[in-house]
Amino acid sequence: MLNFNTPIIDTKEYSEIKISEIEPILKINLRGKSRDFVTKIGKELSIITPVDPNTSSSNEKFNLLWLSPDEWFLYSNDKIDIKDANVLENKLFNEISKVKLGSVTNVSDHWIMINLKGIKIFELLSAGCPFNFNNFKKSKGAVTQTLINHIDVIIHNKNVNDLNLFVRRSFSAHLWSWMNDSARFI
């Protein structure tokens, strides 16, 4: 992580849709099955580990998203110095991986965060996505993993008409092009 480069570095505005890449953001993938693991990450991050499917919890620093019964995704609210990501990774690694409670993987480089704002963002996503956003858009903190234009994404409903979307780095430029192309027709 010596040279942190992002693939998009752009913000685009359309009528009622604003999309921007937000980077660098700290992202850590956490996997574990035991109850001890769940309480441990809650304690280390001062956050309640969400155990209900498709939900998340947040504090002033982090968001913790439910991905699966044994998998969570942690990301920072604000842009970070990438060195700080390594510090937190090491801390969690020592507390969780080393004592064999679960696994800690720094995925800050793996995922790219794109923020979507505006009243028409769900229309934009639905142009290439089979997921039913009706309930999702009404519940703050909701999380889903789905496909947009055949690309895997994680979507976090941060606030009303304000989403953070995560896409794998190698697919991000393609998704970005698709979003910009589709936004023109909405």
Binding site: P53, P69, E71, T144, L147
Partner: protein
């Protein structure tokens, strides 16, 4: 196209899932004691019936968990969805 009720995430479009073939096939305890025919029977032979079939599915583009499903292959009607390791709710 049809909807599948993932036992973890809830109802999602079929395109998020991948089919994993027939369910409830047990790996033989002592593979070395089997004849080639018996091993081939375990490894390759699948029912592939027209009608109600017990299948494994994976929510590949969601929670990535495996689960079982009872589906009518002739009309895609889903009779039940249940987690790995659970007994089928229907016979």
């Amino acid at each position: 196209m049809f909807l599948i009720n993932c036992p973890y995430c809830g109802e999602r479009d079929q395109s998020e899932f991948s089919a994993g073939g027939e369910a409830h096939i047990l790996r033989p305890k002592q593979p070395t004691e089997l004849s080639d025919d018996q091993w081939a029977e375990y490894l390759f032979m699948r029912k592939n019936i027209k009608g109600v079939q017990f299948e494994r599915w994976n929510h590949a583009h969601g929670c990535r968990k495996w689960f079982n499903m009872i589906r009518d292959t002739s009309n895609d009607k889903i009779h039940a969805v249940y987690k790995m390791g659970e007994k089928p709710p229907l016979k």
